[in-house]
């Protein structure tokens, strides 16, 4: 009898909580859909720049499944490679084929090499010697080295998001927020106080994760540690402001958890952990609204390609913009708790 009573009560609670119900059924569909887009999209054609190649070789590459663009000289092609619009440059130097790979993403490197192999097989035995070199990274750049910078950003983001969300929610559910707002504190001060208090811990956390990954795990690192720390801090700041903002729309810790598949998981897919070239182009544009995309882009740029401040400043401004927007929305959301 007791078990039945309990079961009935739980079912009733569930049915009344429409959001939990929706999460239970819709969130897995969302995640599955995203994975479908990521893994079952169009086949990826590597972009290969050709400099002073015989037309026959270019045609063979096209046949093997590459997008070949012809450049007048190797220098021009190399510039395109640096700008990120090519995956590799193939040229003939002193009679032997020379392949320069962009190098940041091991899976793309592999893709290029496979296509090239295919093309050379059809060419027959008279294929010239192949020289492979890397613009960034090196031959033994592992997948982890490539994912690493993204993972650093992701974990900082994820845990700060959870922590901030639950902490701000608890402030509300335990009644201390109401008590707090019965003092002459301004709403901006509440948000600012949270930013400052949590900011200290996020700073420490961001530093710890980055330093551990680079020095303890020996992750490939070609840029400035200070820029890595700056980016990680900005990313956690965004997580902090987003977490506290969303907690205004949750009434229990459980509802905070529900934001994970809705807010955090989609960002993982768009963060660069997965190659988005296979995704429908208009879906790819979704990444522009994902804070993690900017953080991951900059982290990869710094750690693998050794980019400096000038290269990542757009990412910095966008993340700052996100943080400021979320913080201001939070100030407005607090109006729900106090009229003034």
């Amino acid at each position: 009898m007791r078990i039945r009573a309990l079961a009935v009560r739980i079912i009733r609670q569930f049915v009344r909580d429409k959001r939990t119900l929706a999460l239970l059924f819709l969130a897995p569909l969302l995640v599955l859909t995203l994975m479908n887009f990521v893994f079952n999209g169009q086949t990826v054609k590597p972009d290969i720049g050709a400099a002073s190649l015989p037309a026959a070789v270019e045609a063979k590459l096209e046949q093997a499944g590459a997008d070949v663009t012809t450049y007048p000289s190797k220098n021009v092609a190399d510039q395109q490679l640096k700008a990120g619009s090519l995956d590799a440059v193939l040229s003939i130097e002193a009679g032997s084929l020379s392949l320069l790979l962009e190098g940041s993403d091991p899976s793309v490197n592999k893709n290029v090499l496979v296509v090239l192999q295919k093309a050379m097989q059809t060419e027959g035995m008279n294929a010239p010697q192949l020289q492979v070199s890397y613009l960034h990274g090196q031959e033994d750049l592992s997948s982890f080295d490539s994912f690493g910078p993204v993972l650093i950003g992701f974990f900082s983001f994820f845990f700060v998001f959870m922590l901030a969300g639950v902490a701000f929610l608890r402030e509300r559910t335990t009644g201390t927020l109401e008590r707090l707002l019965a003092t002459p504190i301004r709403r901006t001060e509440v948000v600012g106080g949270y930013l400052a208090g949590f900011g200290l811990f996020t700073l420490l956390q961001a530093a710890l994760i980055a330093v551990y990954a680079i020095y303890a795990l020996g992750m490939y690192m070609d840029g400035s540690i200070w820029l890595v720390l700056l980016m990680n801090l900005l990313l956690t700041l965004t997580a902090l402001t987003l977490g506290t903002l969303l907690s205004s729309f949750a009434t229990t810790e459980f509802q905070i958890i529900q934001f994970i598949p809705l807010v955090v998981v989609p960002q993982v897919f768009f963060s660069g952990l997965f190659n988005l070239d296979a995704m429908n182009p208009w879906l790819q544009k979704l990444s522009y609204i994902m804070p993690l995309y900017y953080g991951a882009d900059a982290m990869r740029g710094i750690m693998i390609r050794g980019e400096g401040f000038a290269d990542i400043q757009l990412d910095i401004y966008v993340l700052l913009g996100f943080s400021i927007t979320f913080a201001l929305l939070n100030v407005i959301a607090l109006k729900k708790q106090r009229a003034i």
């Binding site: 201390t176 008590r179 003092t183 002459p184 106090r338 009229a339 003034i340």
Partner: protein, 252 residues
């Protein structure tokens, strides 16, 4: 800017003056035309069953919430107004304390919110903890406090900045009789020292101790008077009977 009410401009301004307050949540009217005056130095009790709108009225008076229609003047100022939050001490229904912190740290936090600092802050902390008889437990984490101690600490926090008005939402709910008596002793002493006190209660014998009480039921103020006058008016022996007679009898 102040908005002195025309009715009171000749007299000393009342501490609280509300006019035709209406507040509804999602189509449900919680307060329906509340007009109320609380004079300086009074101990005023709002008596009513739970769900009658007491807490909502408190939130409108303190400016935490805004009325749909009607006005609230607190110490002559139109509410809600941020600077007025400095002028009263507030004790919420739930003990809003940070359990991980010690009593002293809780007090320091709230004292700072009210702009107290340095020696003055330490003095006030000592003073209010002496009032509620918790001086020996200043450095204990609040999570180790008993329910009654938490209630007293909440009261101490409300007294920190020596407010001229104390707003207490169910100050003695869930408290044993001995402790309730000691809290009431504090409240009466504060009143005698000139502090105006507005509190809510649903306990009849507590209401008896108030200078005046307002009977509130289903969002309407059914009667406002001294406990004695209410009993006389309704011809009832006890405040409880008076409440039932004046409250309109049947429950809505």
């Amino acid at each position: 800017m102040s908005f002195p009410s025309p009715a009171s401009s000749a007299l000393t301004a009342p501490v609280v003056e509300t006019e035709g307050l209406v507040r509804s949540f999602g189509g449900r009217t919680v307060l329906d035309g509340i007009s109320l005056r609380i004079e300086r130095g009074e101990l005023f009790g709002l008596l009513g069953p739970s769900g009658s709108g007491k807490t909502t009225l408190i939130k409108l008076i303190t400016g935490i919430d805004r009325a749909d229609t009607g006005t609230v003047l607190l110490l002559g100022e139109r509410m809600p107004k941020l600077s007025m939050l400095q002028r009263f001490g507030y004790m919420a229904q739930a003990d809003a304390l940070y359990g991980e912190l010690t009593a002293r740290e809780n007090l320091q936090f709230f004292a700072s919110l009210y702009g107290l600092s340095g020696i003055r802050r330490s003095e006030r902390i000592q003073a209010v903890m002496a009032v509620v008889d918790l001086l020996d437990h200043l450095n204990k984490p609040v999570s180790a406090y008993s329910g009654g101690m938490k209630r007293r600490l909440s009261l101490a926090i409300a007294l920190l900045h020596e407010p001229e008005l104390l707003v207490l939402d169910e100050p003695t709910v869930g408290i044993d009789p001995v402790l309730r008596q000691s809290i009431w002793k504090e409240l009466l002493a504060l009143r005698d020292n000139g502090t105006t006190i507005l509190l809510t209660t649903h306990v009849m014998d507590e209401a008896e101790k108030c200078d005046r009480i307002g009977l509130i039921r289903d969002g309407c103020l059914t009667a406002v008077d001294t406990p004695e006058a209410l009993k006389t008016r309704s011809g009832a022996q006890s405040l409880e009977e008076a409440f039932i007679t004046l409250g309109g009898g049947e429950r809505a």
